[in-house]
Point group: C2
């Protein structure tokens, strides 16, 4: 194929101040876009996606997952636009001040976006919510050690609903994917909370209920 520009974009989620946020780059005037770049000849799609937000995190390990590949026909220029989109999760503590002109936007208050980037973010959010229900992806937004209240709060922010504390604890514990540490965290107020950590040997994906059959 003659002229195909292949770009890789990343939807980067993080939790700031009780809202789920997405990192966006300015496009022009009041128009924003997802961070992204053209695929280089010497890299895989994944390493290109990694590069796209490397400066945004101090973590070696980052949750990164391929989301979807979009194609757009730009009729006026007769150009074919192909974009491979990833989504990534960054814990608040591993985040740096956004470099350049990048800014964190709440998923509930997005600015005007380039191309179909709004649709892409909506899809990424749906996928994140969906994954939360059958895998252990929620930990990726938290520091290595966390309290159960923090974990529950993360779930609540992403799902956009309140959860029952006792049911949450019961299930997350008997799922066997986190383990106690010897540490506690105190906010200076109230009873200090026990810290937990994700069990690296845990089976993160759990079988979903079978609907059919």
């Amino acid at each position: 194929m003659a002229s195909c520009s292949l770009n890789v974009h990343v939807v980067i989620f993080s939790l700031c101040e009780d809202t789920l946020r997405v990192l966006l780059a300015p496009e022009e005037q009041t128009l924003w876009q997802l961070p992204g770049q053209p695929l280089q000849q010497s890299e895989t799609l994944e390493s290109c996606a990694l590069r796209a937000f490397q400066e945004q995190t101090s973590r070696r390990e980052v949750y990164l997952e391929q989301l979807y590949t979009y194609s757009n026909l730009l009729h006026h220029t007769q150009k074919q636009l192909v974009s491979v989109v990833y989504f990534a999760l960054i814990p608040a503590n591993a985040r740096r001040e956004p470099s350049a002109e990048l800014r964190w936007f709440s998923v509930n208050q997005l600015p005007s976006l380039k191309d179909n980037h709004f649709e892409i973010i909506a899809y990424a959010l749906r996928r994140l919510r969906y994954k939360l229900e059958y895998s252990a992806v929620g930990f990726e937004l938290l520091p290595e050690e966390f309290t159960l209240s923090e974990l529950q709060h993360t779930y609540e922010v992403i799902l956009g609903e309140k959860l029952d504390k006792r049911n949450f604890r019961r299930r997350i514990l008997q799922a066997g994917i986190i383990e106690e540490t010897k540490h506690r965290r105190t906010k200076g107020e109230g009873r200090p909370a026990r810290l937990y950590r994700y069990r690296p040997d845990a089976v993160a994906e759990v079988k979903a209920r079978r609907l059919f059959p």
Copy 2:
């Protein structure tokens, strides 16, 4: 990016003679590959995928879903190979004799495959099995009207396990995604079976059980 060849491949599943099969094209000697072709400038990814098996089916509507996008660095040629893979389902009755040199292979007895096509098929199969459990994708392999035994058999072949007849019927019926027709089918032997049809207004995706609520 300078030289990127962007191909679209399709994993086409169908049910023949009690086995789940994949349509493959000969590559060279004893090596086979997934049907595919380079993306044209004037088409979207999806229409390119559709084109890749249009001659394989007489159906207007075909179940087609994007699977994953793979990138391969071919070190010796310094070329970048990007392949967007779709998977498709064709009902046995809508299938034609494979054109050209294409052949249907049982997923349990695949030949030697080009590049990472074995991995791709394995992933497509995993996805198909997974989808079967929370969506109504099984109908896409059957004619418009089908008996419950045929439907159950489809599930059994794909999942590779026997299912309980009563539980299967109970759940598939109370899920409300199929409806009775007035027709019956008889094989000439045994009691004729009632024919059902997929309800086009049905909500095919059902909520999965929440693991971590």
